[in-house]
């Protein structure tokens, strides 16, 4: 247990606007099972991607089995025996189980023909290693298997390549209980054979079951490392969140009457969510990735269908069957991924800002160009959008300015309820402050805002109260006076002990 399998020394990596990792050193011994934990955006994925060669670090050294790798690439990393199982299984559903297991490493005949018999044999062997021989048919199309078994195939694929270092990135997110237990058995097996393991999970209880040590990242920096039997869940949570408090930007407002009331809405991802938003109120919605926050936002806005539930705007029931009706009911959605859902990137700032209101600024469907331009100019000025002109293509703006264009669009349509899904994502610090400012101003002018974020400090610095989601349910409603990072994270992570929030009754 003395030799290091992997050493990542003084790694730094930044993306435009974000320092993803700052001087991080990570060492993994042979046969060690190390948990890697941290909040969303703490830098876990970046660190893993540097090890697998998907990203090149700005600074730092990568040493694998005592050999320094000058330039890590996915191919080199694979040949060194590093393999990864990702939470969103990167497999080809149209190929068979066997084809997936040997993909990129097919046994050949005559140099280019695939040796089918050998392929099946290898697949059987790999499935046997994970205890699923005879349960999963190597000839079955992967897409036909239940998701949990697909997860097993991904694991079989990873361990079949003589892996010496296996990375599990949120592997249990898609696994059922039986598969999770199998996974733990497999991990113990691997450990016995001297394979080193990096285990990433938000489910702290799992970490205590199978890991030797736990390594905590926070905001791209190393916080601490502990042997698993010398720590506990509470300590880990406080390590994960314990950061300096940000400047307070909260302003006290007179909260008014209820504008939006959502009652018990359900669909595939939502298991009965209720909430209310009042005039001049900013309500945070916290939850880990996959907790259903985005789905809730989309369901309220009519972007995804709901099976059940009621929505009231200013006390009147409304039936929101599409975003168009939501907009008519003065709802606005700043979607999670502005490039994919929020903006028509090839169109101009002017076109994007006016998109929801063209029907109001046209006569017999001929657009009033003067109005169109003056509206665009007004909001460019008001939100301080940095753009050479209103006819500039949105694609050419920075992330922060793009986000402001999305917000401008909803200001232009005079919305009363704003649902903002990660509005500061990928936005630089200066623009972030401006977006908070803007939210404050909006609320002061009477709007109700539902602010979805994975980043607790920003929620705590601006929200009147914070809702916490977990597994498609709202599990907490924390007023400003009781806000506490550890409490919020605990609500979002920990298994419930039969406690039911006020909204669930």
């Amino acid at each position: 247990m003395d030799r290091y399998a992997v050493q990542l020394l003084n790694i730094s990596k930044s993306f435009p606007g974000v320092q993803a990792l700052k001087d991080v050193t990570f060492k993994l011994k042979e046969g060690e099972v190390k948990a890697l934990v941290g909040e969303n955006g703490a830098g876990k994925s970046t660190l893993i991607k540097i090890l697998t060669g998907a990203y090149v670090p700005d600074q730092g050294e990568i040493i694998v089995f005592d050999k320094k790798e000058e330039k890590m690439t996915p191919i080199i990393s694979e040949s060194l025996g590093i393999s990864a199982v990702y939470q969103n299984l990167i497999l080809a559903p149209h190929l068979t189980v066997a084809e997936n297991i040997v993909l990129g490493n097919e046994p050949r005949r005559a140099g280019f023909l695939i040796n089918k018999t050998e392929m099946i044999r290898k697949a059987r062997e790999a499935l046997a290693q994970v205890g699923y021989e005879g349960i999963i048919d190597p000839n079955e199309k992967l897409g036909n298997l239940p998701v949990a078994q697909q997860g097993i195939v991904a694991i079989a694929r990873a361990v079949s390549r003589n892996a010496r270092v296996v990375i599990f990135d949120e592997p249990t997110a898609v696994l059922a209980k039986r598969e999770t237990e199998e996974l733990f058995r497999i991990i113990k097996e691997l450990k016995k054979r001297g394979v080193s393991i990096i285990y990433i999970s938000h489910r702290l209880e799992e970490i205590f079951q199978i890991c030797d040590t736990v390594y905590v990242l926070k905001d791209g920096m190393f916080v601490g490392e502990k042997p698993i039997n010398e720590t506990n869940e509470d300590e880990l949570i406080s390590m994960m969140v314990g950061r300096k408090l940000r400047k307070e930007i909260y302003t006290k407002r007179n909260i008014g009457k209820v504008v939006l009331k959502v009652e018990n809405i359900r669909n595939k991802k939502l298991k009965g969510c209720s909430l209310t938003l009042k005039e001049r109120e900013i309500v945070g919605l916290y939850g880990l990735v996959g907790s259903g926050r985005t789905e809730l936002a989309r369901a309220i806005f009519g972007a995804d269908p709901i099976d059940e539930g009621k929505i009231y705007i200013e006390g009147k029931p409304v039936y929101i069957k599409s975003p168009a009706t939501a907009i008519k009911s003065s709802l606005a959605l700043v979607p999670e991924d502005r490039r994919v859902q929020g903006l028509a990137l090839k169109l101009s700032v002017r076109d994007n800002i006016n998109l929801p209101i063209y029907r109001h600024i046209s006569r017999l469907s001929v657009i009033n160009h003067l109005k169109e331009r003056s509206i665009a100019n007004d909001f460019v000025k008001k939100l301080r959008i940095k753009t050479p002109s209103i006819s500039t293509t949105v694609m050419n703006l920075s992330g922060g300015n793009q986000q402001k264009v999305v917000i401008a669009k909803w200001l232009a349509s005079k919305s009363k309820v704003f649902i903002m899904d990660e509005p500061t994502n990928g936005v630089d610090v200066g623009a972030k402050e401006e977006i908070y400012q803007l939210m404050n101003e909006l609320a002061s002018e009477g709007a109700a805002i539902l602010f979805i974020s994975s980043y607790m400090p920003e929620l705590m610095s601006i929200c009147d109260r914070i809702l916490v989601m977990k597994d498609g349910k709202i599990v907490g409603d924390v007023p400003r006076e009781e806000m506490d990072e550890e409490k919020l994270l605990a609500l979002a992570i920990k298994e419930q002990n039969g406690e039911v929030s006020a909204h669930e009754k």
């Binding site: 859902q341 903006l343 998109l355 160009h369 500039t392």
Partner: protein
């Protein structure tokens, strides 16, 4: 700064095309004494009219990141039905309204199949292309339809203010569609749909209505093309229109339309069609083997788009 760049770039797309046209025209004027004559120019205009209208229709579809392959078959279907109706004594105006409604309806069906049944536009309109061609052959029994009134032929060869009648239809189409694309809500929604359907939907754009509208409008223009084609041919020819879809797409793309959507306009399609007709016309005047024409057009399409792509990559 960036804005200047994009402006300069969009100028360039049309500029390249204009330069190609000018070079071709100068070259043809020198090498053939027939080229710059009133007859030949009128001839170019007549040839270009139908192809231009189809190119404008196609560009509207392409801006939504769609495609319509049913062009040529719908032209042929309209041609045959119109010929049959007129020959059997139906008044021309009733006939024209009927076939235009039919073509628009076919376009609407394309829209329904594409939006509601989620069939990719390429497949949906490929199917419609085959169906319309089959119907054409079925109705005509595979043979030409003769006996159309002379007035139709006179109309096709006639002029108004010295410009061929057919060309007026093209000019009208370009002006109307260009106006629609630039100044109407429908026009903006077309570009928004082509750039990002999800963003458009979340902004309250009714994607179903826009999709229906675009394919119905395209169908209407194929119908118009078919009516003009009937007057030009002065008979019903069940095999007419073969390959028109490719000419229309080529002209649209030459004119700056991007198959990825949100780029292109009617004027560009007009110039694209002009380049192609000039090549066809010049090849005839210069006695070049007609089979070479297609090869030339193919090369020009690929080269123009490649130049465009290279320039775009540099922009980014």
């Amino acid at each position: 700064m960036k804005n200047n760049k994009t402006k300069r770039f969009s100028l360039n797309t049309q500029m390249v095309l204009l330069i190609i046209v000018v070079v071709l025209w100068v070259f043809l004027s020198i090498s053939s004494s027939h080229f710059l004559t009133y007859e030949n120019i009128s001839n170019i205009m007549r040839q270009m009219a139908i192809q231009g209208i189809l190119a404008v229709g196609e560009v509207v579809v392409i801006i939504t990141a769609g495609i319509d392959l049913s062009v040529g078959s719908v032209v042929a279907l309209v041609n045959i039905i119109m010929s049959k109706m007129v020959v059997s004594g139906t008044p021309i105006w009733i006939t024209v309204i009927t076939v235009l409604a039919l073509a628009t309806g076919i376009g609407l069906i394309n829209g329904v199949v594409i939006y509601d049944l989620r069939v990719p536009a390429f497949i949906a309109t490929l199917g419609m292309m085959t169906i319309a061609r089959g119907a054409t052959l079925l109705i005509s029994n595979g043979s030409n339809v003769f006996g159309l009134p002379r007035s139709l032929a006179t109309f096709a060869s006639g002029n108004f203010l010295g410009i061929p009648n057919l060309f007026w239809f093209l000019l009208l189409t370009v002006v109307v569609i260009e106006f629609m694309l630039r100044n109407t809500t429908f026009g903006r929604y077309i570009y928004a749909l082509g750039s990002n359907p999800e963003a458009a939907r979340l902004s309250g754009v009714n994607l179903r209505a826009v999709t229906y509208g675009v394919y119905a409008l395209a169908g209407f223009l194929w119908g118009l093309g078919g009516v003009l084609e009937t007057s030009r041919l002065w008979m019903g020819v069940p095999t007419t229109g073969t390959g028109y879809e490719l000419d229309a797409i080529a002209a649209a793309v030459l004119g700056g339309a991007s198959l990825f959507g949100a780029e292109g306009n009617a004027i560009g399609a007009f110039f694209g069609a002009l380049v192609m007709i000039t090549i066809y016309n010049g090849a005839v005047l210069l006695n070049i083997n007609p089979f070479w024409q297609r090869i030339l057009v193919g090369i020009i399409v690929i080269v123009t788009v490649a130049i465009d792509q290279i320039r775009k990559r540099r922009e980014v």
